[in-house]
Amino acid sequence: MMGLNIDVIRENLPLFLEGLGVTMLISVVAIPAAIMLGAIVALCRLSSLKILRTGALCYLEILRNVPFMIQVFLIYYLLPFYGFRFPAYVVGIIGLSIYASSYFSEIIRAAILSLPTGQLESARSMGMSKLQAMIHIVLPQLPPYIVPPFINQSSTLIKDTAILSTITVQELTMATQRVQQESYDFVEPLVFAAALYLAINTIMIFTMSKIKQAKST
């Protein structure tokens, strides 16, 4: 194998770090947004109102059966059509949050269903509405059930940011392609980018598990 050219990485480090920064920014905003949206959808699925249940089900089925890349391209072209001119990374955050919310919602729903039902009933007998009971009693008890799948899903979300390079978002994968095109070195930048993704992933999983440990003590 030919010698590895480390210089190309060193010279272009600012470009890589800029891309990495955008990846992190998008992830840090999209993960909580997706979780909140997912919680809302999960509650809709468990609602007593049929229209909410059906609506949520349609939402989920559409998002989970259509490729993410197609979803994000559609949002990218639809928003300007209705007059919204956002920079590409905002479109990316929106697309990613919506897409990931479908997965988070299933995790939350499964966790809610695995809780003992008695609590919901006693809360309601004390006069709370189903929604209030959900928010104040059920949701706070979820963390032990949801943190590991949440970590997994968040890791998937971070990896999915790479797809945003196709709608001109200047995240890490797009930065890598720019370095490739400008330096005519096609392998080293990719290997470096892969290492960076691994690093983010490892750090994130490590941090989250530390948080989990801290919370359970």
Binding site: N65, V66, I70, L78, F81, A194, N201
Partner: protein, 218 residues
């Protein structure tokens, strides 16, 4: 003004792309399940060095985006001597990715079978091959089948990435169509519809099969 006639017009051509994608996915899934089985088998020998290598490979697969893995196979392999056509490069990347996941799924499936059954079978005089064929494999298959079906939809949804290593599939065809008729929204809606139809049907089929097989469970 959105005019859905463009979506309808695009669908026949898009469907051609989707059938390529489905064929690709079936092939990739078959190879990756095979790969997963082989990996599980190798793992069962418990050779420390080998396990470390497999773990490193799985960590790489799970820690990096598929798009990056795809580019790496496409650009890196020729440098070390493998000149693969784009289709083979894409297939390799997808199989490498999926096999890592499948092997964990298979391991999970195999370990969920109560060892008591195998011990009883040995006591009853069954050969290892027979045990595998009549006891282990059927139960493991029932256990992992839903996940294999789900992996089909995951791989199919990932096929648009192949457009970026010059493979002509659904998304690339969509791009070619809307570069000509300037109707990206309608054409992409068409693509979304046909993907939805295929994936939705496959998931429903999976649920149906799961119910039927569960009835037969041991």
């Amino acid at each position: 003004m959105l005019d859905l006639i463009y979506a309808v017009q695009a669908i026949p051509k898009l469907a051609v792309g989707l059938s390529i994608a489905v064929g690709f996915t079936c092939l990739a899934l078959f190879l990756s399940v095979t790969g997963g089985l082989i990996l599980s088998y190798i793992r069962s020998f418990n050779i420390r060095t080998v396990n470390i290598i497999i773990n490193a490979y799985v960590t790489y697969i799970r820690g990096t985006p598929l798009l990056v893995q795809l580019y790496l196979v496409y650009y890196l392999l020729p440098e070390i001597g493998f000149e693969l056509p784009a289709f083979v490069a894409g297939l390799t990347a997808f199989v490498l990715n999926s096999a890592a996941i499948m092997h964990e799924v298979i391991r999970g499936g195999l370990s969920s079978i109560p060892p008591g059954q195998q011990e009883a079978a040995i006591a009853a005089g069954m050969t290892n091959r027979a045990i595998w064929r009549y006891i282990t494999f059927p139960q493991a298959l029932i256990k992992v089948l839903p996940q294999i079906i789900s992996e089909f939809t995951i791989l199919l949804k990932a096929t648009p990435l192949l457009a970026f290593i010059s493979i002509v599939e659904t998304f690339r065809i969509a791009q070619l169509i809307y570069s000509n008729n300037y109707r990206p929204i309608e054409v992409l809606i068409g693509a979304a519809i046909i993907f939805f139809c295929v994936n939705f049907s496959v998931s429903r089929l999976g649920i149906f099969m799961e119910k039927k097989l569960a009835g037969r469970g041991l």
